[in-house]
């Protein structure tokens, strides 16, 4: 199935939120929005999802708006005073956001705990988590990985948004590739690699992993491009931080419309 229109619509909404707020973290949201769509549009309602890379909050808010979990009127308050939608997700505001995140390295332990709880209860719920590749630098990710393997949590599916860039450089140049499939396989995860902008492939990948009750926690290493969809932003570290000018926003909107086949609004 072709999800181009959906991908374009989500990107347009992300850009609109960032432009309205004058905020950064655009590149990281465009990097992982397709992964989130592949999870949140297709998971069962009872399955849980944690966005561990909380700085991609606009992607989360956008897709949850798409699924009906966040109302339209709330989106307009993003980044403003007295909002429920700050730059990183807030605690206890939406049922679909079980944990506030923003400090990296928290999501995998939390999702692991949820998976362990589901195992103890004997239910079929899946615990999803999305991490950034830079985030796998965090020791807590490794602690959680060993716990998940030791506890045979095959109901845990971790996605890594591998765009190759982190806070202040290329992941390869800083600590090396701590999201390397070989490392996670060596720890005992079942790992698949996937195009992180192909919703159909991502969805098929996790569904196949979920069906494989082999006692191994799962990981989808998703190859992505930071700023995906807007050439000026693609694969550029500065778009982790920069807000758009009005001219940049106008150009970006047009590029998304053309690139993803959206009609003019």
């Amino acid at each position: 199935m072709d999800y181009k229109q959906l991908q374009g619509r989500l990107r347009s909404n992300i850009l609109k939120m960032h432009h309205g707020a004058g905020s950064g973290h655009i590149g990281c949201s465009l990097s992982c929005i397709d992964i989130m769509a592949a999870i949140l549009k297709f998971k069962n309602e009872a399955d849980t999802f944690i966005l561990s890379k909380g700085h991609a909050a606009t992607a989360l808010y956008t897709i949850l708006n798409e699924t009906g979990a966040i109302p339209d009127e709330d989106l307009g308050t993003f980044y403003k005073n007295a909002t429920t939608l700050p730059a990183h997700p807030a605690p206890l505001k939406y049922a679909a956001i079980p944990f506030a995140t923003g400090s990296l390295g928290h999501g995998l332990p939390l999702a692991t705990g949820i998976a362990k709880a589901n195992k103890l209860k004997g239910n079929d719920k899946i615990s999803f988590v999305l991490m950034s590749d830079g985030e796998t630098n965090e020791g807590t990710s490794w602690e959680a990985a060993h716990f998940a393997v030791a506890n045979k949590l095959d109901n845990l599916i971790a996605f890594v948004d591998c765009n190759g860039l982190q806070g202040f450089g290329n992941t390869a140049d800083i600590l090396g590739n701590t999201a390397s499939p070989k490392l996670w396989e060596a720890m005992g995860f079942e790992v698949v690699e996937c195009d992180g902008h192909d919703i159909e492939a991502l969805m098929q990948a996790w569904k196949k992993l979920a069906a494989n009750k082999n006692g191994k926690p799962k990981m989808v290493v998703a190859s992505t491009v930071k700023g995906k969809g807007i050439k000026e932003m693609e694969d550029k570290m500065e778009w982790h931080y920069l807000p758009m000018t009005d001219a940049q926003y106008t150009a970006a909107k047009q590029e998304i419309r053309a690139g993803y086949g959206l009609e003019n609004d």
Binding site: F99, S103, A115, A117
Partner: protein, 303 residues
């Protein structure tokens, strides 16, 4: 207290299907019974305390009450962000039980001591710290902690039995107040046993009101304590914790806010390692002026 703690868990909680116990790879010769009784709900998270708290928060979000156990400093300092972000922000029923609060691990050294733990944790949102001083108030404290179903820290130490002339009250213990009292003493945790030993040697016992407080943060002055302070105008605070962010600093704020005039306020507290030397818990208490002899000397200075 560790023995009473594990007995309490075995007796009151181990059978509950919604209760999970996670240890950070500790509990030899103490938790075997709990582990046996709880089966798969007893989890050894390994030597990975931060993940232990994250996992606990995840489990608590799915309806479990989760108790995490370790040596006090390991479960307090290393996991602070997990306690704040994962547990406290979400007001989840995750309880951390830290063995060896204060200088409890003595000659094991500074890495094993927890003398800033209350200051570290008690300001976190929704957090309640419990610091029982006696076996008897430990039971009442744990009853309250588990009934509250919110983030908590239980600081375990070497508690003795409650003396006959003290009674359990909400949030602590106290002696019967006397109208002739000239000194109000507020103490916290097992170091109160040193105070009791000092009082036994004092001829001023009948002129002193003694209170213990076993919960922090300390944000409301109990009426009986306020009455005593208004009468005596003299305060002595005893705590096996640094003065910053502890019992004494909290009491000083509350007394000032209440406008209670004072003649004298002395805080006896953990001083850290002022001479750079190490020893038993009793040694460190003595170096900090928390030993029986110094407490008696300070009490006498009020009369």
């Amino acid at each position: 207290m560790r023995k009473h703690f594990s007995e309490y868990i075995e007796r009151n909680l181990a059978d509950r299907e919604d209760f999970v116990f996670i240890t950070g790879d500790l509990g030899y010769n103490a938790l075997e019974g709990v582990a046996k009784k709880m089966g798969p709900r007893f989890i050894n998270a390994g030597v990975a305390e931060q993940n232990m708290i994250g996992v606990a928060a995840g489990m608590a979000s799915q309806g479990f009450q989760v108790l995490c156990y370790s040596i006090a400093p390991f479960v307090v300092y290393r996991c602070l962000e997990q306690m704040r972000n994962d547990v406290c922000f979400h007001n989840l029923p995750v309880y951390i039980a830290g063995n060896g609060g204060g200088y409890g691990y003595g000659i094991m050294g500074s890495s094993h001591h927890a003398i800033e733990d209350i200051a570290t944790l008690s300001g976190l949102p929704n957090m309640q710290c419990y610091i029982p001083g006696f076996v008897e108030d430990m039971r009442a404290t744990m009853d309250e902690m588990f009934a509250r179903r919110r983030p908590a820290y239980l600081r375990l130490g070497l508690g003795k039995n409650l003396p006959a002339d003290m009674q359990l009250v909400t949030g602590g213990t106290q002696t019967v107040l006397t109208p002739e009292a000239r000194l109000t003493i507020l103490s916290q945790g097992p170091v109160t046993n040193n105070l009791i030993a000092a009082l036994a040697k004092s001829d001023k016992q009948n002129s002193i009101d003694v209170f213990t407080l076993n919960t922090m943060p300390f944000v409301t002055l109990p009426a009986a304590l306020a009455t005593s302070i208004a009468t005596t105008k003299n305060i002595l605070v005893i705590e096996e914790h640094i003065s910053i962010g502890g019992l004494g600093s909290s009491l000083a704020l509350l007394v000032n806010e209440a406008g209670l005039p004072l003649d004298k306020f002395i805080s006896l507290h953990a001083e850290g390692y002022p001479n750079g030397l190490y020893g038993s818990q009793a040694y460190h208490q003595q170096v900090s002026g928390l030993g029986e002899e110094n407490i008696l000397r300070v009490i006498n200075s009020y009369f």
